[in-house]
């Protein structure tokens, strides 16, 4: 993986010094909260309901075991013993003190990490395919390009105060695992007929209040022009993106208002001035960065490891895990392993300090010391010898990271929701828990097969509800109660689609029953081993809608506040900050 040279390290160290001084000025009162807010946000520090939350950038989701151990260290020493992996392949800590944050960022800098641009109206951390470099369907490894863009976007002086946040995703495989169709800019690395490398450039996709699939504005942008072309996009957006209404400020609204053709014309006009300029990427620089992503030294195997089949035949739990959590690898005798962070009753994406240390140990022992964080909020060990799978499985199971549910019903994508986030209309973590408890039977989950339930506590859609096969969205109602809108038919990847709302919203206590009814329709209608989403595509929304609303959904009284209340074990925590604040928003 990429390693900092002296320049990278110096820039991050100077950032820590700058931030340390900003916190000093905030604590002494020299900086008012409204002036400090954008400064802390550009270092990933939010003010949530209970405490400060720090989001740490994990560039394109790739971490070393050393970095993972630093997360464990932060969880133990500054937080409450856990962290939360996010849908943008980052990690968040939820219970920090402002006065500790400079030390945390200094600790992170010592392992080549930071929180730069993980928040605020700037270019955010760039996300990519969690199986980059090992996927059998990969055309070009996207990571060198992601790293070059990381450096280009870090502290870009002109694009630090954009109309709104800006997210770039990059994929280099035939199957899109980076959700490039729903990003502000989505890049797909391709080869043309002559074997040259370039990008398909998509712009203006996004979720949130106005979900839109991105539009292609360039079918094959030669790789040399990556930075100048993106600079042109950014300059058009910075000048013409709306700033009068926060809900209409993302680039997707500008692209929609102008039309993709006119937007492209403006970008091309802007680009004409800087194309072939000094920001044009050189072969030397590309090769320098590519060297950090050369494949590890694999052992030579002729094919699949025979012992795996033996264990599989003897051990049903291992067989289930193999089926769900182990993914193919382009090198014979190797596999990619997904460590599930979706154990029932644990918030999706949460990991304890002990789990993080254990995951780091597994990486060192079995996967060349590297891990990836997935946008499904799990961890990946990308380069595991098949011969090690059985041993690895036993260790991971002992740490609660081997639930065989990857891609199944309980592999729910979920935002922090009303338990933590000031923006949320409703809770999402306890609802994810209620759903995974209701359908806890793994036999049932394996029977239902692949399905994605994505859940967000508000319109901002951090839980990607629009692209869930079943989407659950906390909506704002006048009565102040918690209501959830259910959508159906969304999808991510190559067939990205925005789900459609099935009808009036439901209460917390009704949602698991609604999911149950949707599944009943699927079981009734499916043909052979058809997946849930394929059945939805084939028969449409109507049969689901009719069945869900045919009879009243009786609220499940067991889902009461006593069992699923707001932060039950932390109810003594009151919002407290070391400094006076405005309203804790963002």
């Amino acid at each position: 993986m990429y390693r900092y040279d002296n320049y990278d390290q110096q820039i991050v160290n100077e950032r820590v010094a700058q931030y340390r001084d900003q916190v000093r000025r905030r604590l002494s009162g020299e900086l008012a909260e409204d002036e400090f807010r954008p400064l802390r946000l550009q270092n990933g520090l939010y003010m949530q309901i209970h405490a400060y939350m720090l989001r740490i950038a994990v560039p394109y989701g790739l971490v070393s075991s050393r970095q993972m151990r630093m997360f464990a260290h932060i969880a133990r020493n500054y937080d409450r013993g856990y962290g939360h992996f996010t849908t943008r392949q980052n990690i968040q800590f939820n219970w920090l003190k402002l006065e500790d944050t400079p030390a945390i960022l200094a600790d992170l800098a010592s392992v080549e990490m930071h929180g730069i641009q993980t928040s605020g109206n700037c270019i955010r951390n760039i996300s990519s395919d969690e199986f980059a470099g090992v996927a059998a369907d990969e055309i070009v490894d996207p990571r060198p390009y992601a790293e070059i863009l990381r450096q280009w976007s870090t502290f870009h002086p002109e694009f630090a105060y954009l109309p709104r946040k800006f997210k770039i995703a990059i994929s280099g495989a035939t199957t899109d695992r980076a959700a490039i169709l729903v990003h502000d800019i989505g890049l797909s690395v391709l080869k043309n007929a002559r074997g040259e490398i370039g990008f398909r450039v998509l712009v203006g996709g996004g979720l949130g209040r106005t979900p839109i699939i991105g539009s292609e504005i360039y079918d094959f942008l030669p790789w040399q022009h990556m930075m100048t072309y993106i600079e042109a996009i950014m300059r058009v957006y910075n000048q013409y993106g709306r700033r009068d209404n926060i809900y209409k400020a993302r680039i997707k609204i500008l692209v929609k208002a102008l039309g993709a053709a006119e937007f492209k014309r403006q970008v091309d006009a802007e680009w004409a001035d800087i194309k072939d300029g000094s920001s044009t990427l050189t072969v030397e620089e590309l090769q320098r960065v590519e060297k950090y992503f050369t494949p590890p030294v694999y052992e030579i195997f002729s094919g699949d490891d025979p012992a795996v089949a033996v264990h599989k035949a003897e051990n049903k739990a291992f067989a289930n895990w193999l089926q769900r959590n182990v993914k193919p690898h382009k090198v014979p005798g190797y596999a990619a392993v997904v460590l599930s962070l979706k154990k029932t009753a644990i918030a999706p994406g949460d990991a304890s300090d002990l789990q993080m240390d254990a995951a780091a140990d597994l990486a060192d022992r079995f996967s060349f010391g590297e891990l990836r964080i997935t946008h499904m909020q799990n961890l990946v060990l990308a380069d595991v010898r098949q011969a090690d799978l059985f041993t690895l499985w036993k260790i991971a199971a002992a740490q609660g990271m081997a639930t065989p549910n990857v891609g199944l019903l309980s592999d729910i994508i979920c935002c922090p929701g009303g338990d933590f986030c000031t923006l949320a209309n409703a809770r999402s973590i306890p609802l994810a828990r209620a759903i995974s408890e209701r359908f806890e039977s793994l036999d049932f989950q394996h029977d239902i097969g692949e399905i994605e339930i994505n859940m967000s506590g508000c319109m901002n859609s951090c839980g990607h509800n629009h692209v869930g096969h079943i989407g659950v969205l906390g909506v704002d109602k006048q009565d102040g109660g918690e209501w959830y809108q259910i959508s159906l038919g969304g999808d991510q990847g190559n067939q990205s689609a925005i789900g459609k709302v099935i009808g009036p919203s439901f209460t917390f206590q009704q949602v698991p029953q609604v999911i149950d009814r949707l599944l009943q329709v699927y079981v009734r209608e499916r043909i052979e081993d058809e997946k849930f989403i394929d059945t939805v595509r084939r028969i449409g929304l109507v049969p689901f809608k009719e069945y869900v609303y045919a009879t009243p959904v009786v609220p499940d009284a067991r889902l009461d506040d006593e069992a699923y209340g707001l932060l039950k074990d932390q109810n003594s925590v009151a919002a407290s900050y070391a400094v006076p604040y405005f309203t804790p928003r963002f």
Binding site: D5, N121, P157, E158, R243, R288, T294
Partner: protein, 173 residues
């Protein structure tokens, strides 16, 4: 008043003219002396104003620098107003004034100009900063030197880091 210019705190005698609610660009009387006038005042009173020894004009964040195409050399000062520090259009306006319109005179940031924005502002082409009145200008000066190295090009840096310095490759780590 005091401004930051060419990385030092200096006294400055330019006055920024802002129209009151009842004034119009056509009718407002521009006082004698070194006045930085709103773009619309320049556009409507150009004939009169360009007879002065020195001219200054300011653009708001929603105004386009291209309208000054061909006449930027007439100004001793062009200022760009930041109505709120979070309004980042001024950065692209400055870049365009320098890179596209080839303006070489003083480019001044006015309005909500704070210490922690200065590093970025100087990179896109600003060389003068009228720090918001309630701020300590000597303290703000430190904002120009927060970082000693940058990755990407802008007005201040014509070559990206990868073209300027030899960088360590993977095999050397």
């Amino acid at each position: 008043m005091m401004i930051i210019k060419n990385k030092t705190v200096v006294a400055d005698d330019w006055v920024v003219l802002r129209l009151a609610g009842n004034e119009t660009p056509e009718a407002v009387t521009v006082p004698a002396g070194k006045i930085i006038v709103p773009l619309k005042v320049w556009q409507t009173q150009r004939e009169l104003l360009q007879t002065r020894a020195e001219s200054g004009v300011w653009l708001n964040s929603d105004e386009r620098p291209e309208v000054l195409q061909g006449e930027v050399a007439k100004f001793s000062v062009i200022a760009v107003n930041f109505p709120r520090f979070a309004d980042g259009r001024g950065y692209s306006i400055a870049y365009n004034l320098r890179a596209r319109l080839e303006y070489r005179g003083e480019l001044r940031a006015i309005g909500d100009v704070l210490r922690d924005q200065l590093f970025y502002m100087q990179r896109v082409g600003f060389d003068a900063f009228a720090i918001r009145a309630d701020q300590n200008i000597h303290d703000a000066l430190k904002g120009l030197t927060d970082f000693s190295e940058t990755y990407q090009t802008s007005w201040d840096q014509k070559n990206p880091l990868f073209r300027r310095v030899p960088r360590t490759g993977a095999e050397l780590k």
